[in-house]
């Protein structure tokens, strides 16, 4: 198994099932049926629409800092669609919105989050999902503990933990992967190698030829997968989930993909991204690849995609309107939920703050 993954395997090309021309590798029977494929396609397409809208909202001063999924849709959707939201959990970094939505998080909450409303960080009642993690890699220990805790309580739930190539350099990533191995925690680690940590290219992030090589050092299987290939991501994650559910422990998947846009709304990648490289990578757009496959199978066409895009624009318009209708925040927003049993001193501070500035009425 992956414990046998070596520098040699890693040097080899990432595992690919859906070729750039949209054809499926010989003999591979995709686990996703037509309906599943279209569902995934819609999620990827919606993500693109949300990215575009959030960028323009930020430019208009209607939204805070936003990081788009742009280019990583297959890596996120391919992995998330291998989960059962009813029992499996997602522990995100901050660039995996489609996976969060599939778990049951709503677009309105997402917009509230990026608009700076605390409510946006509540994932929703009964939604198996942890909040966005801004402190890079800090979520990876959480994912391991969560998986351990689920198993401890007799659940067969699996945790899918996302983190970036940059986050992989943090001590937390190492401590968590090592603990997952020791405890055989049911976690699927999806390391999204999108080539960049803000302006830092992967070659300055590590000298390893593949992050999948890290797995052997933790006694777990590691697999290098083409992150722009929906089918390969879904297949690798499905196998990893099955293994975790069966009690055979964690897996590390390196999803090799590419950040097709700026790091976030305040970043200017022209300072550090080679234009030619960007063009070349844009040609490998995961949506284009999937679209070719769907076309070949007669599942969609230009007209259908245009209709879908229109439908998504309307959906996002409605969500934006609802999010922007969130009542303005009063001082209470600073104090609610800090403690279940607040110290007297904090209640006193709250009283002063509210007296000085009575909370607006909805």
């Amino acid at each position: 198994m992956g414990a046998g993954v070596t520098a040699t395997d890693a040097a080899a090309a990432p595992r690919c099932l859906l070729a750039p021309d949209g054809t499926v590798a010989d003999g591979h029977v995709p686990a996703l049926d037509d309906a599943g494929l279209l569902d995934a396609w819609r999620a990827m397409r919606l993500s693109r629409t949300v990215d575009a809208r959030c960028f323009s909202l930020q430019r208009q001063g209607r939204l805070g800092t936003y990081s788009s999924v742009n280019g990583e849709e297959a890596a996120v959707v391919g992995s998330a669609w291998a989960l059962d939201p009813a029992r499996d959990w997602v522990v995100p970094q901050y660039r995996e919105l489609p996976a969060m939505l599939r778990q049951g998080y709503t677009l309105v909450r997402a917009l509230q989050y990026f608009m700076g409303f605390p409510a946006g960080n509540h994932m929703g009642e009964g939604v198996n999902l942890l909040p966005y993690q801004i402190s890079l890699a800090a979520q990876i220990p959480h994912a391991v503990g969560l998986a351990w805790g689920l198993r401890h309580q007799g659940s067969d739930g699996v945790v899918c933990c996302y983190f970036g190539d940059g986050a992989s350099s943090e001590g937390d990533a190492h401590e968590a992967l090592n603990l997952a191995g020791v405890r055989r925690a049911p976690v699927v680690f999806v390391l999204k190698n999108n080539g960049w940590a803000i302006s830092t290219p992967v070659r300055r992030q590590t000298a390893a030829s593949s992050f999948a090589d890290r797995a052997a050092g933790y006694g777990m299987p590691g697999e290098l997968v083409d992150g722009n290939d929906l089918l390969a991501m879904h297949d690798a994650t499905t196998r990893a989930v099955a293994r975790a559910r069966a009690g055979d422990g964690p897996t590390l998947i390196e999803a090799r993909t590419y950040r097709m846009g700026p790091h976030n709304t305040s970043d200017d990648p022209t300072r550090y991204v080679d234009a030619a490289e960007l063009e070349e990578r844009r040609a490998a757009d995961p949506l284009v690849r999937l679209r070719r496959h769907l076309d070949a199978r007669g599942l969609t066409d230009d007209a259908a995609e245009a209709a879908l895009e229109a439908e998504h624009k309307a959906l996002v318009d409605a969500a934006v309107a609802e999010a922007e209708a969130t009542p303005p925040l009063g001082p209470a927003a600073m104090f609610d939920h800090v403690f279940a049993r607040p110290p007297q001193r904090l209640d006193d501070q709250r009283a002063v703050a509210e007296a000085a500035d009575p909370p607006e009425m909805p």
Binding site: L146, G149, Q153, E175, N178, V338, F339, A340, R345
Partner: protein, 325 residues
């Protein structure tokens, strides 16, 4: 009631918690087979098994960070930091994650965890084992900080902390593990967080202290008594919540105060105490509130530590200064 040492009282509290609530789970370095390097968890793995008293790899950030995940899954984790000084390795998980998860998730993910950590000097440990870092955690909103000074409070506040839905940093005085012993009820009881304890009344001055420093404060107060001064001692018991009323009343009663701790002076918790006292009892203060603390230097090697940790003599000298002011 049986007389117990502090470490016995803590062990009893942990055993009772494991017994009474199946959601409770202990994790840390050497806490299982070895029973903890100070024996605070001795015998617990035999009683409750290796799945509830869990030996962890040598990595503080993931001991704390995985406890965050365990709490998200519905359990009540009690991670142990082998020494508070090594909480620095997990500082980002404690101040950035444990303390904020409840607020971040708007109540969806409470953190009913108790982080146990021994600390404190004059036990000839190697470097970094004795550091008193409490102020750094008090300045990390979302966390409660408990520092008992007696075996009775140790068990009672530990039990309360475990039942408290908020995350608690529970600091245990290394020096007190065996030196401090007093009467501890056998059965279930709790000591509320945020209620200071009057160790002794005094009409001339009050010494405000917590954890092992309470022992030093009490000896100094007795010595001052022999010199004809009436000196009281207030044991804070917890820094968050802070018993502001008790502070106000204690100072109002005598007009003079001295605050004492093992941590360095600058930005130590003593500063917070002085600030709070002068905010709450300014008009009853007859002299500046004095601070007796460690110096603004790193905790030194064993050969000199007795001079670094505030001694009865230094406190006594402070008492004299405060009373002659």
């Amino acid at each position: 009631m049986a007389v117990m040492t502090m470490v016995e009282a803590i062990r009893a509290g942990l055993g009772a918690a494991l017994e009474g609530d199946e959601r409770v789970l202990l994790l840390g370095q050497d806490i299982g087979v070895n029973g903890g390097v100070f024996r605070a968890t001795e015998g617990l793995q035999e009683r409750f098994g290796a799945e509830r008293v869990v030996d962890m790899p040598l990595a503080e950030a993931v001991i704390v960070g995985s406890a965050v995940g365990l709490a998200c899954s519905g359990l009540v984790p009690i991670p142990e930091l082998q020494f508070l000084g090594f909480g620095s390795q997990a500082f980002h998980q404690i101040e950035g994650q444990v303390a904020r998860m409840r607020f971040r998730s708007q109540g969806a993910y409470p953190m009913p965890m108790v982080l146990r950590a021994p600390f404190g000097g004059n036990v000839r440990t190697p470097e970094l084992h004795s550091d008193a870092h409490e102020a750094k955690y008090v300045n990390a909103p979302g966390l409660k900080v408990v520092m008992p000074a007696t075996a009775h409070d140790a068990k009672g506040m530990l039990t309360e902390a475990i039942r408290d839905p908020d995350p608690v940093l529970f600091c245990e005085p290394l020096r007190g593990y065996r030196l401090i012993s007093d009467e501890v009820p056998e059965g279930d009881y709790t000591v509320p967080l945020g209620r200071a304890r009057t160790v002794r009344e005094g009409s001339d001055l009050v010494i405000v202290a917590y954890s092992a420093a309470v022992v030093v404060a009490t000896r100094a107060a007795e010595r001052a008594g022999e010199e004809g001064y009436s000196v009281g001692v207030l044991d804070l018991r917890s820094l968050v919540p802070l018993d502001v009323d008790a502070l106000r009343e204690a100072v109002a009663g005598c007009g003079r105060a001295l605050v004492l701790h093992e941590a360095p002076l600058s930005a130590g918790f003593g500063a917070e105490l002085v600030a709070t006292i002068q905010e709450e009892a300014f008009w009853s203060l007859e002299a500046p509130v004095l601070r007796v603390t460690a110096y603004d230097a790193p905790y030194p090697p064993g050969g000199i530590e007795e001079r670094y940790v505030p001694s009865v003599e230094r406190v006594l000298a402070g008492v004299r200064t405060a009373l002659e002011a």
